[in-house]
């Protein structure tokens, strides 16, 4: 076999194994955390404001299997989870997997929309700033980028809602419409959360684009091309940008995983029914199986995305592949 293909396969296998171990550790952590937390799902289920009788509580507890020893519950859960069965929601008996599968694509959609927004804003701004280094334009753009990185997403989101929804009435303040029901409404409701989530990222992409461009612009081959009399426009688009692209692509890829963290706030703020909304609701209700399922899905998503980015990156840049194998 071609040694470089064998090396790539080995790398993929090693990465997959690491990912699996990571998932197992995360799963165990998730399971234990829920049982350390005080609070009783049964009481909440029977109406926390009222006074359920001890018999009703006991019967509900055994019906839900919560009277089993914790270790038994853990191994049953782990075994089932390996078969992609995450149990049933405590509140209504629906399979957890159906909740997770319904909400997972919405979180992914939000994250990807944010990445697209961020790239569309960040890269042109970065290029614009780099081309006029030290100018007024550069200073303004760099300041905007600094602000964008520093402003927490919940403040930015609130300001956007105040301005675009309440003052101007252009976009809905929150919510979600299924794309099958109304395409326009779907994207109108996606716009603000994607902007809020993507803006901070746009700022870091702009900064990365700027510094990466500047670095390449200072290289000898650019001077050579200029000396050769190549038009400036062609130098920038065909040579500088292409060489500057690798660090930019990397930062975009790596941020995708981090965006999962940002979605927690953004989903709550915009009532976007993704994994985080599911998780937050489930935690307050002490809906153990749902919390475990949702957290596991988020963790898995994070691990898988980072894995994909790393693999993709090493395929893109042969130097990395060679170095590691």
């Amino acid at each position: 076999m071609n040694p470089s293909i064998a090396g790539a396969l080995l790398l993929v296998c090693r990465k997959l194994l690491t990912a699996f171990v990571q998932l197992l550790v995360v799963a165990t952590l998730i399971f234990s955390v829920m049982y350390i937390m005080p609070g009783d799902p049964v009481l909440l289920l029977l109406g926390a404001e009222s006074n359920p009788s001890p018999e009703a509580v006991a019967s509900m507890r055994s019906q839900l299997g919560l009277d089993q020893p914790v270790l038994t519950q853990y191994f049953t859960w782990l075994w089932n989870a390996l078969h992609l069965d995450f149990g049933n929601s405590l509140t209504n008996g629906y399979p957890v997997s159906s909740y997770v599968l319904a909400n997972l694509p919405r979180t992914l959609e939000l994250a990807f929309a944010a990445i697209i927004v961020a790239t569309l804003i960040g890269v042109p701004l970065g290029i614009a700033a780099a081309l006029k280094r030290g100018s007024m334009r550069d200073t303004v753009l760099t300041s905007i980028a600094t602000v964008g990185i520093s402003v927490p997403v919940y403040i930015l989101g609130t300001l956007m809602v105040l301005f675009f929804s309440i003052k101007l009435g252009w976009l809905p303040a929150s919510g979600y419409t299924d794309i099958s029901r109304n395409v326009v409404e779907h994207f109108r409701k996606l716009a603000l959360p994607a902007l809020a989530l993507g803006f901070g990222l746009a700022a870091s992409i702009a900064r990365m684009t700027r510094s990466s461009m500047l670095e390449i612009l200072g290289r000898d081959f650019v001077r050579a091309l200029r000396a050769k009399g190549m038009p400036e426009r062609r130098i920038i688009w065909q040579h500088v940008l292409r060489n500057a692209a690798i660090p930019i692509v990397t930062i975009i890829g790596l941020q995708l995983g981090n965006l999962m963290g940002g979605t927690v706030l953004v989903e709550a703020m915009f009532n976007w029914p993704g994994l985080s909304t599911l998780l937050v609701g489930a935690v307050s209700a002490r809906n153990y199986p749902l919390v475990q399922g949702a957290m596991l899905a988020i963790a898995a998503l994070f691990i898988v995305i980072n894995l994909a980015v790393e693999l993709f990156y090493s395929l893109l840049d042969p130097r990395i592949r060679r170095k590691r194998s």
């Binding site: 937390m37 609070g39 289920l45 109406g47 404001e49 509140t91 809905p172 303040a173 709550a268 009532n271």
Partner: protein, 526 residues
């Protein structure tokens, strides 16, 4: 649906334009113009503070669940917009002189599945609550019903094991809804079954995590009701998101308006605020140990706390101080003289504390929750107030679920609670003050058990004569103030936010604010 919503927005815009153009005619013709615009039908988007964990009609799973169930279901009786009992599926009822037999005559009504509401359905619905192993919230209260007779399809007779005057009020709760006997047989134990009731709206769709839709039931037993075509209950767990949704016009009504946003909603020309002072904030004590086993200490705390500090710290000034017992004006047991029993008096509080054997105060653990700002901030205000008489409070602030668990385990010295009575009958007090066999409960002061109070509450439950009952509860109030198992802090404003064009939705005063969802049958859009 969305097109309808857009049309409504367009109408809203028209109203504004008309007002500007017809300034001179505003007084004379504005009313007429609005009348002309008030049309049947339309869609209301109702922003709720949470998604129900269940729609099981026998379990009180919180206000959002009740709001939705009150659109779908009706009971024999319910509480109407004025807070009084209203005959719903029962056309009339009669209570025997010994308060042992209740006879109901049913009206002609239909369930959403088209079947008529019969005596058998009433029997099956009540027996579902009282059945062995039932998880119904009010199983104990309705458990007093010994047998149910159905002499004909339109008559139901309930025979009680012992006299129980407040029964009719418990039957008025949303958890005593009447559902078809056939439905119970088939779906009674399935938490996900499509609910079928006899209310103004029928269940249409539940998109988990987002919204629940109900649509007009054409054969509702009240003529010309409901007015709306459908109602979308949209879930907004985050309070800021909920308020923004109202302000931007995404929704037409929201529940649980945060106190900090009340003023801005009032000031908005497009919006209005419907407020009442039903629920109250109080301190519960674990009375098993000193110092809180001593009534003088609890009284001293009541004297020591400046109620205004709490209202301002935790409720943006939106509340009414409470210096006596939390009995709403107009409810049995209310007395103007005793409403201000504990006036704010720090010196007196210090004296009482010294007499009780704590001249230098003491240290204790105050349980509240960090999950809800008003609980959290009430705890902080109480901590600051009691520091003035030498009581050092350490705050214990788990999330809501953790707090409930500790509350139910009696794991606290004193705790911040915010609640309301269940019913408009004075027997609501039993849930809070009665000792008996289960001494650690959600709503009582742990281990509080006073023979005089128990006895008066027992008497109140079996006495049918109103004057006699009034006397009993007046004695109760005296004893309760003396013992002070609770320190009452304030009546808090409980508000709905509405767009101006929403008419007919009423915030039911007093404790019944949490059952205001029933007035969706009167709600219309202009």
């Amino acid at each position: 649906m969305d097109t309808i919503h857009v049309t409504i927005k367009a109408i809203r815009g028209n109203i504004v334009k008309k007002r500007v153009l017809g300034a001179l005619f505003a007084l004379a013709s504005g009313f007429v113009a609005q009348q002309a615009l008030a049309a049947e039908g339309g869609t209301v988007y109702f922003g709720l503070s949470g998604e129900p964990s269940t729609l099981d009609s026998t379990i009180n799973a919180g206000t959002p669940a009740r709001t939705i169930r009150l659109a779908i279901h009706r009971g024999l009786v319910n509480y109407g917009p004025d807070g009084k009992l209203s005959q719903e599926l029962a056309e009339s009822y009669d209570v025997s002189a010994d308060a042992l037999t209740y006879t109901f005559k049913l009206r002609d009504a239909k369930f959403h599945d088209g079947s008529p509401v019969t005596a058998e359905d009433v029997k099956a619905s009540i027996e579902r609550v009282t059945a062995e192993g039932s998880k119904a919230t009010y199983r104990n209260e309705l458990g007093v019903i010994k047998s149910i007779e159905t002499p004909d399809a339109k008559t139901v007779t309930l025979t009680l094991a012992k006299p129980f005057v407040p029964l009719i009020h418990y039957l008025a709760l949303p958890e005593s809804a009447i559902v078809p006997a056939a439905w119970i047989k088939e779906h009674g134990t399935d938490p996900n079954a499509t609910p079928v009731g006899a209310g103004p709206f029928k269940f249409s769709n539940w998109e988990r995590g987002r919204e629940l839709t109900v649509e007009k039931f054409d054969e509702y037993y009240k003529q010309d009701k409901p007015h709306l075509d459908d109602v979308h209950y949209v879930f907004y767990a985050d309070e800021n998101t909920r308020v923004n949704a109202l302000k931007s016009g995404d929704v037409d009504i929201i529940d649980y308006v945060p106190w900090k946003d009340a003023a801005s909603i009032e000031a908005d020309p497009e919006l209005k605020l419907e407020s009442t002072t039903g629920p109250f904030m109080m301190l519960q004590f674990n009375t098993q140990f000193e110092p809180f086993s001593k009534p003088e200490v609890r009284q001293a705390i009541s004297y020591a706390i400046d109620r205004a500090a709490i209202i301002n710290t935790a409720f943006n000034g939106r509340g009414t101080p409470l210096f006596g017992l939390a009995i709403p004006e107009g409810y049995m047991g209310y007395s103007k003289d005793k409403a201000n029993y504990f006036s704010h008096d720090v010196e007196k509080a210090k004296d009482m504390l010294a007499k009780a054997g704590y001249p230098n105060g003491f240290e204790a653990r105050l349980l509240a929750t960090s999950q809800y700002g008003f609980h959290n901030n009430t705890a902080i205000a109480v901590q600051a107030e009691l520091a003035k008489i030498g009581i050092k409070l350490n705050l214990d602030l788990p999330d809501w679920s953790g707090r409930i668990a500790k509350n139910n385990a009696g794991d606290y010295d004193l705790l911040v609670a915010g609640t309301a009575g269940d019913i408009a009958d004075p027997d609501w007090l039993s849930n809070f003050f009665y000792g008996g066999s289960q001494l650690v409960r959600l709503n009582n002061s742990a281990h509080f058990n006073d023979a005089v109070i128990n006895d008066l509450l027992d008497k109140g439950r079996v006495t049918l004569d109103a004057t006699e009952r009034e006397k009993i509860y007046s004695q109760f109030v005296d004893r309760a103030l003396e013992e002070s198992p609770f320190v009452y802090l304030m009546w808090r404003d409980q508000s709905f936010g509405l767009r101006k064009n929403v008419k007919g939705f009423t915030n039911i005063p007093g404790f019944l604010t949490f059952q205001s969802g029933i007035t969706i049958e009167n709600t219309e859009l202009e």
